[in-house]
């Protein structure tokens, strides 16, 4: 119940974020600019530009919208860690590492999607609607299992 409650609360808070703030600040500074830098670093010929919630180039135009930003998986991991019986210190560590992990995984997903839409556009739907969501959720579950195993091992050490 705590897990579901946390998830619903986080989801509610997410919807309270204005579109302007999401597009012009969070997506632009937190996602799009970093993905553009990543792509330009590894493939300088792409010459990708970041604008609001868009990744532009001569080959593709990728829009990041609410719901396609990895927030769903992030909320699942955060809620699971909060609901799991562990010490505050373990939870804090789990949250920081988990948020970082999902954030990096999501940057990788968006960067990957950019290359898919640029070079194999017919694969875009498969990657976007099936491969990426299932793998992201399962990566989130694996991270949670890793953290939960570690925290219970430390808690259950006999005195």
């Amino acid at each position: 119940m705590v897990f579901v409650g946390c998830y619903v609360l986080l989801n509610y808070g997410y919807f309270k974020i204005s579109v302007d703030l999401l597009i012009n600040v969070i997506y632009y500074h937190g996602v799009v600019t970093i993905c553009a830098d990543l792509i330009n670093m590894f493939a300088p010929l792409e010459k990708v530009l970041a604008q609001q919630n868009y990744l532009f180039s001569a080959k593709a135009n990728l829009e990041i919208v609410r719901g396609c930003d990895g927030a769903g998986v992030l909320f699942l991991v955060v809620s699971a860690i909060i609901a799991f019986p562990s010490t505050s210190r373990q939870k804090l560590t789990g949250l920081m590492l988990g948020i970082g992990f999902i954030y990096l995984f999501n940057l990788l997903r968006i960067t990957g999607l950019y290359f898919v839409i640029s070079y194999q556009p017919e694969w875009f739907l498969l990657v976007h609607i099936y491969l990426a969501p299932t793998l992201m959720v399962l990566a989130g579950c694996s991270y949670f299992a890793w953290w939960a195993f570690g925290s219970t091992n430390k808690i259950d050490v006999p005195a």
Partner: protein
Amino acid sequence: MYQRELISLTLKGLLAWLTLSGLIWYFGECLGKALFPLLTAGIMTLSSEISPSLNLVKSISRFDDGIELSAWVLRPIYLNADQFILPGTELKSAIHLLHALVPVVIEGVILLVWPVQRWSQRCLLVVLGVLTAILVVLAIVPAQLLGKLEISFQEIPGAGQNPRPVPWFVDWLVFCEMGGRWLLAIMAACLCIKLQRRLLWD
């Protein structure tokens, strides 16, 4: 020690994911069609203004296969005080089949890698998983198809007086699309694990 177990669990998870993805790839169409009667019943429960009919729209690549709702309007659907959709009009909305089956795969992978001691426990988990996966799909797909229709209606009423109220399943659709569908899949897997422990506890 637990590092080795976790690596083994992760590898099992990847294997389960590949297996289920293969099954969805080859049998997704049959699975989708088999669920049509239940999905149609779900749509009829949610809305009495239309007569629904579902069909599978196939694409060349198979990535774009979709479930299409053809809805015959049974009585006038008022969009606002001045505008309404005439009875007999056919309305359509569609969703991607693969996207609809994502929660099933997530739930399936969790249940296939969950550590158990006996095969009977695994079998029970799989049986419970199939039953709850149907419920998860039923909780998502009818609302998604109807919600998409409703969203197209909602773009018109804003302009007129007495706009059509937004039905609850549009909010549910948005919740599911923002990741709620994954929550449902994980909750369904947790429910199966609890039931299995209660029924076959060592």
